[in-house]
Amino acid sequence: MSLTPDQLQRIATLARIDVSAEELSGVTDRLNRVLGLIDQLQAIDTQGIEPMAHALDARLSVRQPLRADAVTETDQREYYQRGAPAVENGLYLVPKVIE
């Protein structure tokens, strides 16, 4: 499987990353080298093998932890928003989305 520059642009749009016209062929070429590496997986017979999503599910039964439904965090909005690029009245500012 190898990507065309057009297909790469579509993926870049999905990933919300601008890829400039000058970068496009270099990025496509390097990505195709990586896809060449991962393509070897296609030839492996995995009939009847369960996908392994978690590092420890092979050996351990990991229970999903639940905690009591209690308030554990205090309101620190102002403190947390100090690092934000643009804030007004406790709200994060973004460009207008709805006309």
């Binding site: 390097r30 392994m52 690092g83």
Partner: protein
Amino acid sequence: MALAAKQVSAVELTRLYLDRIRGLNGKLNAFITVDEDHSLAQARVADERRSRGEAGPLTGIPVAHKDIFCTRGLRTTCGSRMLAGYTSPYDAHVIERFDAAGAIQLGKTNMDEFAMGSSNETSHFGPVRNPWDVARVPGGSSGGSAAAVAARMAPAATGTDTGGSIRQPAALTGVSGLKPTYGVVSRYGMIAFASSLDQGGPLAKSAADLALLMNAMAGYDARDSTSLERPAEDYGRDLDLELSGLRIGLPKEYFAEGVDPDVLARVREAVRWFEERGAKTVEITLPNTGLAVAVYYVIAPAEASSNLSRFDGVRYGHRASEYADLNEMYRRTRAEGFGAEVKRRILIGTYVLSHGYYDAYYLQAQKVRRLIARDFSDAFAHCDLIMGPTSPSTAFPLGAKSDDPVQMYLNDIFTIPAPLAGLPGLSIPCGFDGKGLPVGLQIMGNYFAEAKMLGAAHCYQQATDWHLRAPKETPL
């Protein structure tokens, strides 16, 4: 020990290392951020604690932290332009644990951007240089931590390992580094790369030091949903391991063509040392080793593309200065904030998760991941520990592999399998190649076998001095 005997104070010890950082960082670029006042204030508190008779084993010991661990009030960049001006409002669990133990935060170490790299060349803050040869890479992604320990700029450091990011730089710089069993060290406040693989761990000169550091770092944390609730253990309990009768598995795939002959020779000599003390070696096979890199470069980018979607220029981090609408703000912010390797992995991850490719790539990779994990469970039926090279080569020159991502990725062939299976892995120095560059011996164990692995390493380090050698480029 000198601290306990009150021959030296924590303030004096911290000053010593801060001076050394100041003297050497221009040459090695191992640290991104150092806050001397903060370190010295912590050292004064540690000295007071000792004078009250409340000191623990790490009280007053300076520890450098990989810049992936969030530190409240001290800049955390993850090696990225995206977070170049970011200061976390909270501490990582690992940082809390070291603070509680009375350790001193010595500074934040350089790393590959978002821990994506094997050479430390992807850092926004410039490459780290190997103290054994400054024209060569220190490995990655915890290259700053490894170089700092190797050059005696820090007695100990933290790192994280997703596909080898603790063990490979430890090997390339001649220090000891441990990637624990997945779930042993909390990932809370450790900036996420690939969440099903990421695991924090220590780097230090010796296995005995790693055990002390693990005692502080490990432990259950409800804020990490994959943190394991287990009784506390003393990672130094097996330092006097009985080597006689120990079964050491040698995977034939790790002693194969393509590995540097000097690396193989040093690793074989180390294995022979264990044999001479009564350990039994068994040839084993991990037949799917050759697929591990391919599996990793589906799963890790897939998880990264999801994890790094949080960097959108809205709540924290970099935001582009010019944009017409919200979508363009995202696209430009991410194009400017991320470096080439990080973008490449996000794009691969987006592709393998996209409609029509999910089953063929992502699910197939997860299935082969299980085959790799099964290789290990089959192997551990025949042996207690597995030994082999950490990395197929010693430190390579800066720029040698940075143009071809696949060449760089293949360098991690022996370190990627353990995290895919969730297993612990350790790298310790076991000699030098013909160029005088350190070689790493990798010791892998079954789940929760860290104490036994550290014990084997400690026995070896009692009889050898590879771990005590200091690099020529950074004389004491």
